[in-house]
């Protein structure tokens, strides 16, 4: 059936549409060319005056896997005040900062999101992560697999194995864990913490292997380039949260020497040591470096005031952060000679100097990085704030006077320490469409996403144009996923199950023999049992597997 969405104002940066009034036609889940006679459309929905964008994409949100589930189990108090009533969604659920899988899927859809990416999947935990993603309805999904703290890679680097060997290992890991991209967290630092190192700078050697974070970053970024993955190496750098880490981040950018990388939740990596409290904003310096480095993209990891929980693979830094747990409980883990994690509940307080300045630093970053194609809207859910705060964040970016009003309410010393009040920039609808739709789709290589051109998947969000952008973005009037109406006036009307996006780059199978030997000798699980099969991801037909091309596969 042909459906016509009539009279909307189209914000489609992928195709240069900046508010042009034009009809959209949908058929069989795709956007199609306008027919010669508009009356061919059997269904016509009048959306005159409405703001129309493609479906939104969250490039970095912790929604599935072991540490996310620890967060859920740890915080019944988070759920008790946020129980979803039976008549609200197709299934029960709960949770503010640590929602159940189904609730997360419904809420994302109700904000106009059609795809979400779990950025920290362990190969050893990949099966569980995929089962949780399979139980996250409404949205398409995918995951980035962690490398760079696994003993296998560090041993290979210490043994000076050639780059081709490392690429084979990276490719095997992507296949086995059904991942879309590679993420590195505190390169070598999580492993170093197991050897009782408490910090690891970019050029400091891991005590176990004598390898530096810089070597790991370069090796992985090279592998990602050689394999031809669409998404660059996803980097959670060294020294997260440490005052002065702005230098580490600048060093990291320089150290890439032109290799592509995505720096994630960069707000947490942009701290100076100036001022009485030895804590200051490094946002301007990072933004300047990013503006000059076209090989680098970033997402912000904006914090919002209130209760949340921090869930990270960075056991080293989470251990340090556990002193600030609120309430006073936290979990750390060393995991399978591969990774680690730290789960620490936290409350960001607007009266606290450091928290208030963190808030300002994130906003400075958004406003000082020039190119919206290289900066994505995230709160590093739930680490900076739950994803449900995105509409509020969009208002902060689009509405200068609202931003200044909010700034006036935070810790006064933090107000004095930020340049935020002097920044006039306001994001346009076009720029919001870039940073939440077109740019993440390009960065992840998601063909058919982030675009409203004929041929694109019919992922469409329709908003009532309201001066209050928070209200506007919190409750789209219509959300279509693959041409199907799934949300009406901010409420799920149809439960759907999205696809899982992966890459399957080819590799020399000789690596499998080495891995078999290694796993059989040293690990407590056989290599082949880590492998998540295509059938499992499809979950008996409930989900679809979309395999994206790489340089080493089609």
């Amino acid at each position: 059936m042909l459906t016509r969405l009539k009279g909307g104002r189209i914000y489609d940066p992928e195709n240069g549409d900046d508010g042009e009034v034009r009809d959209l036609y949908l058929r069989n889940g795709r956007i199609v060319e306008a027919p010669a006679d508009p009356r061919e459309a059997k269904e016509v929905i009048d959306i005159s005056g409405r703001v129309v964008m493609s479906g939104a994409i969250d490039i970095h949100t912790h929604i599935g896997g072991g540490k996310v589930n620890i967060g859920r189990m740890m915080l019944p108090e988070d759920h008790a005040t946020d129980l979803v009533a039976a008549n609200r969604h197709p299934h029960l659920g709960c949770g503010h900062a640590a929602p159940s899988t189904r609730t997360a899927g419904y809420r994302y859809a109700e904000m106009g999101y059609v795809a979400c990416f779990e950025p920290a999947m362990l190969a050893g935990n990949a099966r569980q992560a995929h089962m949780e993603l399979a139980d996250t309805p409404m949205v398409d999904k995918g995951a980035y697999v962690l490398l760079g703290n696994d003993d296998y890679l560090l041993r290979a680097l210490a043994a000076k194995r050639d780059p081709e060997y490392l690429r084979d290992y990276v490719a095997w890991t992507l296949n086995a864990s059904q991942a879309l991209a590679i993420k590195v967290v505190n390169p070598g630092g999580i492993n170093a913490f197991k050897f009782n190192q408490r910090k690891l700078d970019l050029d400091e050697k891991n005590a176990g292997y004598g390898i530096t974070p810089r070597q790991i970053l370069t090796a992985l970024a090279d592998s990602v380039r050689a394999l031809g993955l669409a998404h660059p190496l996803h980097v959670h750098g060294c020294n997260l949260g440490v005052p002065g880490n702005v230098e580490t981040t600048l060093d990291t950018i320089r150290g890439l020497e032109g290799l592509r990388a995505h720096l994630t939740h960069v707000q947490f990596h942009s701290y100076g040591t100036e001022g009485d409290q030895k804590f200051s904003s490094g946002a301007a310096r990072i933004a300047e470096a990013v503006n000059a480095a076209p090989n680098v993209s970033l997402d912000v990891g904006q914090i919002m005031f209130g209760r949340t929980i921090t869930e990270s693979g960075d056991s080293m830094r989470q251990y340090a952060g556990s002193a600030f747990a609120d309430p006073k409980k936290w979990v750390g883990m060393d995991i399978e000679c591969e990774a680690g994690c730290g789960v620490v509940p936290f409350r960001y307080k607007d009266r606290n100097f450091v928290n208030a300045l963190q808030w300002a630093i994130g906003l400075e970053m958004f406003l000082l990085v020039d190119d919206p194609w290289r900066i994505f809207l995230t709160t590093d859910h739930p680490n900076g704030a739950p994803f449900t705060s995105y509409p509020h964040l969009i208002r902060l970016l689009m509405d200068r006077s609202f931003r200044r009003d909010m700034l006036a309410t935070i810790n006064p010393e933090a107000q004095a320490a930020t340049t935020l009040g002097a920044i006039d920039r306001e994001y346009s609808l076009y720029e919001i469409a870039i940073m939440t739709r077109a740019a993440p789709a390009r960065s992840l290589g998601l063909k058919g996403f982030g675009s409203l051109a004929p041929g694109a998947r019919a992922h469409i969000t329709v908003y009532k144009d309201q001066a209050n952008r928070e209200k506007m973005f919190a409750k789209p009037e219509y959300v279509f996923k693959d041409g199907q109406l799934i949300v009406r006036n901010g409420r799920v009307v149809e439960e759907v199950h999205g696809a899982t996006h992966v890459v399957h780059p080819d590799y020399d199978t000789a690596i499998e023999r080495d891995l078999d030997t290694y796993f059989d000798r040293y690990m407590t699980v056989r290599k082949d049992n880590l492998r998540v099969t295509d059938d499992e991801v499809r979950d008996d037909g409930r989900g679809e597997l979309v395999v994206h091309p790489t340089k080493r596969s089609t």
Partner: protein, 427 residues
């Protein structure tokens, strides 16, 4: 929700060169099986007593029963649906099943307004309370195997409960690179001679179970540099405690291994003390704990229920979710007469039967072995064993690795997920 089945002839599945054992939460994945004429198995390699007993069971050759009378599966499913539909407050107990079984339980519980608890619910709830009260620093099997130079096993006969833990984690050689320099020392804290011998413990700190918490707290005080007033705190020599404290301080990676279920009535204070010991050590060196538990699909039930509902079992489904970690214990519900129907699941055939005071005539039982109470149940439905009769996924004791368990025989027995999905369709 249909269960995931092994499609015959699919090239997508790894070849079943070695089997993953479903009969405890270690989920050893290096077993070799030989099939016997009755479709049971002998374990040719890397078995243990529990594996041998589990694999020796032939698939259940029983029809479904309605009030003790043989009945076709379809009819039994229909009666089960009616029984659950009539109930005001059903409990889904036992829950000894795989991830897909729990997924199906949650979906059905939403329709029946049921409460979920597991046959090992008390020990699992203690872990949840520790998580919700203080948290912990934990480790996993491969980390213990490769990194732990000092393993303190607390009051559990690992050889009885988790026989292969010794082979896989204590005896195995660590990978070069993270090898502890001076080898691995194993210390046993607890009662008796058998357990430390079977474990191959290098040192034993002998203490009776009722003194365990006091000994752990005395060890903690010693670690913190406090002088103990008593020369023999809880019957242990202060010098032995000081020796162990010294070893812990010097260890590069100490691991405390315990079994929540075995700690019995001292469980929660003992676990809190273990958590404190680990935290104290992590101030200067590295340490972690490893809880061995979650058998009979317990780890899978907790995790799956948590991601689907937000709560780790003992959750009730209704207009909203309700989490009552004490009031929704199977025992408390039965004592309070709060339950008017029971769905009881024992897919591993470990004879995890309903408590004797359960309302058997209003019980739907799904099991892979036939207990004596089967004929007294309102409905009894035979099901397959996960990983023997159908493909299954189970979460390991350390709550990190989820193993795929390939089908090993063609018994035609349905999975729990399959049966519950059909009950839901009839509901």
């Amino acid at each position: 929700m249909p269960s995931l089945t092994v499609s015959k002839g699919s090239t997508d599945k790894p070849a079943p060169t070695s089997a993953v054992c479903p009969f405890c939460a270690l989920l050893c994945d290096d077993l070799a099986l030989n099939q016997r004429p009755d479709a049971s198995f002998t374990v040719a390699r890397h078995g243990c007593r529990r594996a041998a007993a589990g694999y020796a069971r032939a698939p259940l050759a029983s029809e479904a029963l309605i009030g003790g009378r043989s009945a076709p599966l379809d009819e039994a499913i229909g009666v089960a649906a009616k029984l659950l539909k009539r109930a005001r407050q059903p409990l889904f107990g036992g829950l000894a099943t795989d991830v897909d079984g729990i997924r199906a339980c949650v979906n059905l519980a939403e329709r029946c307004n049921a409460i979920l608890d597991h046959v090992h619910g008390d020990a699992l709830a203690s872990m949840s309370r520790m998580l919700q009260g203080r948290g912990w620093y934990a480790t996993t099997l491969s980390e213990v195997r490769n990194r732990a130079d000092l393993v303190v096993v607390i009051d559990v006969d690992v050889s009885q409960r988790y026989e292969n833990f010794k082979r896989r984690c204590l005896d195995a050689r660590p990978a070069p690179g993270n090898a502890p320099g001076k080898g691995r020392e194993v210390v046993f804290i607890g009662a008796g001679k058998r357990a430390p011998e079977a474990l191959g413990a290098d040192t034993t700190l002998s203490c009776r179970s009722e003194n365990l918490v006091e000994v752990l707290l005395a060890l903690l005080a010693t670690l913190r540099g406090h002088r103990l007033a008593a020369r023999r705190p809880a019957g242990s020599a202060a010098s032995a405690l000081a020796d162990l404290a010294g070893k812990l301080r010097e260890a590069r990676y100490a691991t405390f291994v315990f079994t929540p279920a075995a700690l019995a009535e001292h469980r929660e204070p003992a676990m809190a003390a273990i958590g404190d010991l680990v935290d104290e050590l992590n101030r200067t060196t590295r340490a972690a704990m490893l809880a061995l538990g979650g058998d009979d699909g317990g780890q899978s039930a907790v995790n799956t229920c948590a991601w689907l509902s937000g709560f780790p079992l003992r959750v009730g489904f209704g207009q909203t979710l309700q989490y009552e970690p004490q009031a929704f214990a199977t025992r408390a519900l039965l004592d309070g007469g709060a339950i008017d129907a029971l769905l009881w699941i024992d897919a591993f055939g470990e004879q995890a039967t309903p408590p004797p005071d359960a309302p058997l005539d209003r019980t739907v039982m799904l099991a892979s072995s036939r207990p004596s109470v089967a004929a007294q149940c309102g409905v009894f439905i035979p099901v397959g064993t996960p990983g023997l009769d159908h493909f299954a996924r189970l979460v390991r004791a350390d709550s990190v690795v989820t193993l795929p368990l390939l089908q090993q025989r063609d018994s035609g027995l349905p999975s729990v997920a399959g049966v519950l999905t059909r009950i839901l369709e009839k509901y």
